[in-house]
């Protein structure tokens, strides 16, 4: 069912049939890292949204991301081994523009540095509830 937001031009502002979060997850399940592109102002967006934070347009289109990015900030969360141990967390500026939170796999936490070029991949985590997928990065 498609619903127009009351008080707006119905042909312009239309809710999609499912939430953009769900669409994002559907792409991940299909092994695709997709982000939204605004066809009005040509900016890319992340996290998934109903309208563009730059120009408020609702003319958004899903496109596969290049996966290329640069580490903007990094930290190491310190935890006891029984709680999962230390792990890094990063903010990555995608080449397309948006910034997203993630982690860098494959190298020691201490070696993850601001300015490092990284490439996205999709991590699959399986437990009793089934598969969950998330975007992680490796050094490019």
């Amino acid at each position: 069912m498609t619903n127009a937001l009351p008080g707006t031009s119905p042909e312009k502002l239309v809710f999609p049939d499912q939430s953009p979060d769900t669409t994002y997850q559907d792409f991940l399940r299909n092994n695709q890292f997709c982000i939204q592109h605004c066809n009005e102002c040509q900016n890319f967006l992340f996290y998934p949204r109903l309208c563009c934070p730059h120009c408020s347009s609702v003319d958004l289109e899903w496109r596969e991301a290049s996966g290329k990015g640069t580490v903007y900030a990094v930290s190491i969360v310190r935890q006891r081994p029984e709680k999962g141990g230390d792990h890094n967390v990063v903010l990555v500026d995608l080449d397309e523009g948006p910034r997203l939170m993630s982690r860098v796999d494959g190298i020691p936490n201490e070696d993850v540095k601001i300015g490092m070029k990284v490439k996205a991949s999709i991590s699959v985590n399986t437990d009793e509830d089934g598969d969950t997928r998330m975007v992680v990065f490796r050094e490019a």
Partner: protein
């Protein structure tokens, strides 16, 4: 913005605190702690609790004014106000709101208060224990970012990276609080001095925060009584006047997910100019500063965004000798603050600012006339206030 100002219109009449406890160790219920602090503030001012007619709090305090009014025997309640924001970002805003109400004529005797008994109600520093996640957390929790320390760490890392600020600057901020706590018998960390070695060897919580960069978790209560400048002439204590107050944040400061344009910021860059405009002073006029340490990195950014230090001078400025009451350039957190006195969501820091202007601090800064007290760096909204003695009016 207008040229209207709260300057000199409202004064602090009284301050009150309970004993400060480690988290979960208060023998009293949270509500009783709140009552005790309010009554202590009234005693301090020489004003009967029954004369309170306004209540202001922050940080989603659980002790609501109607219940407090009944317990205190308040004749009539004319104001009940809550500053938005879950953490300590409102610790100065609560006073701003109370002062505004007095200046507007809504109430005559306003108490600003915070009571906290985490043993009774659960911990703050932990991540939420919930069966599912939604909203912004859906994009942070999968990467292991749960607690406030983890949420703020990368702002500080990025800020330090951009300005070449070293870990030693954070260490100096931590050590200043612990230094002052050793002279303050109210301080939970009184008798537990911190050395450089102890700091360096302490465990990491989340980089760049060692254990000693993070605030404590405490039980207790604090209260501040506000009256008009006219009424302040008749109180027991030397009044501390509010010279200026401001709260808020900049453009998309809280944009999810960690997407604010000015990411490495304490969120004071748009707020501090309003503060100085109201107070009609410059950063150089400040004699003593009480800056909320949720984490030391927030103090660093708050002081820089208040113009107390240039970012390129930070490594030289943030040295213990510069920050202590005993001859430092800018004495900081002279009670021990949230790190070493008590984490009452920053209201203890407000009380310490007032104490300095009365000449009653256990780390008294000589001839202190103007005190800055900023609250809750890196959250939104943040708040900040400047107090002055009668000489500054």
């Amino acid at each position: 913005m207008s040229e209207r100002s709260i300057r000199g219109k409202v004064a602090v009449a009284g301050v009150g605190e309970t004993t400060y406890y480690k988290r979960g160790q208060s023998p009293d219920a949270e509500f009783l702690l709140g009552l005790k602090a309010i009554v202590a503030a009234c005693d301090d001012a020489g004003i009967s609790p029954k004369e309170i007619d306004g209540f202001c709090s922050f940080a989603d305090d659980r002790n609501d004014p109607s219940r407090l009014s009944a317990a205190l025997g308040i004749k009539e309640m004319n104001l009940s106000s809550m500053q938005w924001g879950g953490g300590g970002g409102g610790a100065a805003g609560v006073l701003q709101n109370g002062a505004a109400a007095i200046a507007a004529g809504y109430a005559d005797v306003v108490v600003c208060y915070r009571a906290l008994a985490q043993g009774q109600f659960g911990r703050y520093g932990q991540g939420p224990q919930v069966p599912y996640i939604q909203g912004e957390r859906a994009f942070t929790s999968p990467y292991g970012l749960m607690s406030p320390a983890q949420m703020f760490a990368m702002k500080v890392v990025r800020f330090m990276h951009e300005h070449g600020i070293k870990q030693e600057a954070l260490r100096a901020l931590s050590m200043a609080s612990y230094h002052h706590a050793q002279n303050n018998p109210r301080a939970v960390m009184n008798g537990k001095p911190l050395t450089e070695e102890k700091y360096d060897n302490s465990r990491w919580i989340v980089e760049p925060f060692h254990l000693f960069d993070c605030c404590m978790e405490n039980d207790g209560a604090a209260a501040i009584l506000l009256v008009s400048a006219e009424r302040a002439k008749d109180i027991k204590q030397k009044p501390a006047y509010i010279l200026g107050a401001a709260h808020g944040s900049g453009y998309r400061a809280a944009a999810p997910v960690h997407n604010s344009g000015d990411y490495p910021s304490s969120n004071f860059s748009t707020v501090a100019p309003h503060l100085y405009r109201q107070a009609q002073i410059t950063p150089e006029d400040i004699d003593v500063a009480q800056i909320y340490e949720n984490f030391t990195g927030g103090v660093l950014m708050t002081m820089i965004e208040h113009g107390l230090c240039k970012p390129e001078e930070a490594n030289d400025f943030f040295q213990l000798d510069n920050l202590i009451a005993q001859g430092g350039k800018l004495p900081l957190n002279t009670s021990g603050g949230n790190l070493a006195e008590c984490y009452m969501h920053g209201l203890g820091l407000q009380i310490e600012a007032i104490r300095q202007l009365r000449g009653q601090s256990t780390n008294q800064v000589k001839d202190a006339k103007i005190a800055l007290a900023a609250a809750g760096p890196m959250v939104s909204p943040v708040s900040t206030i400047i107090y002055g003695t009668e000489d500054t009016l």
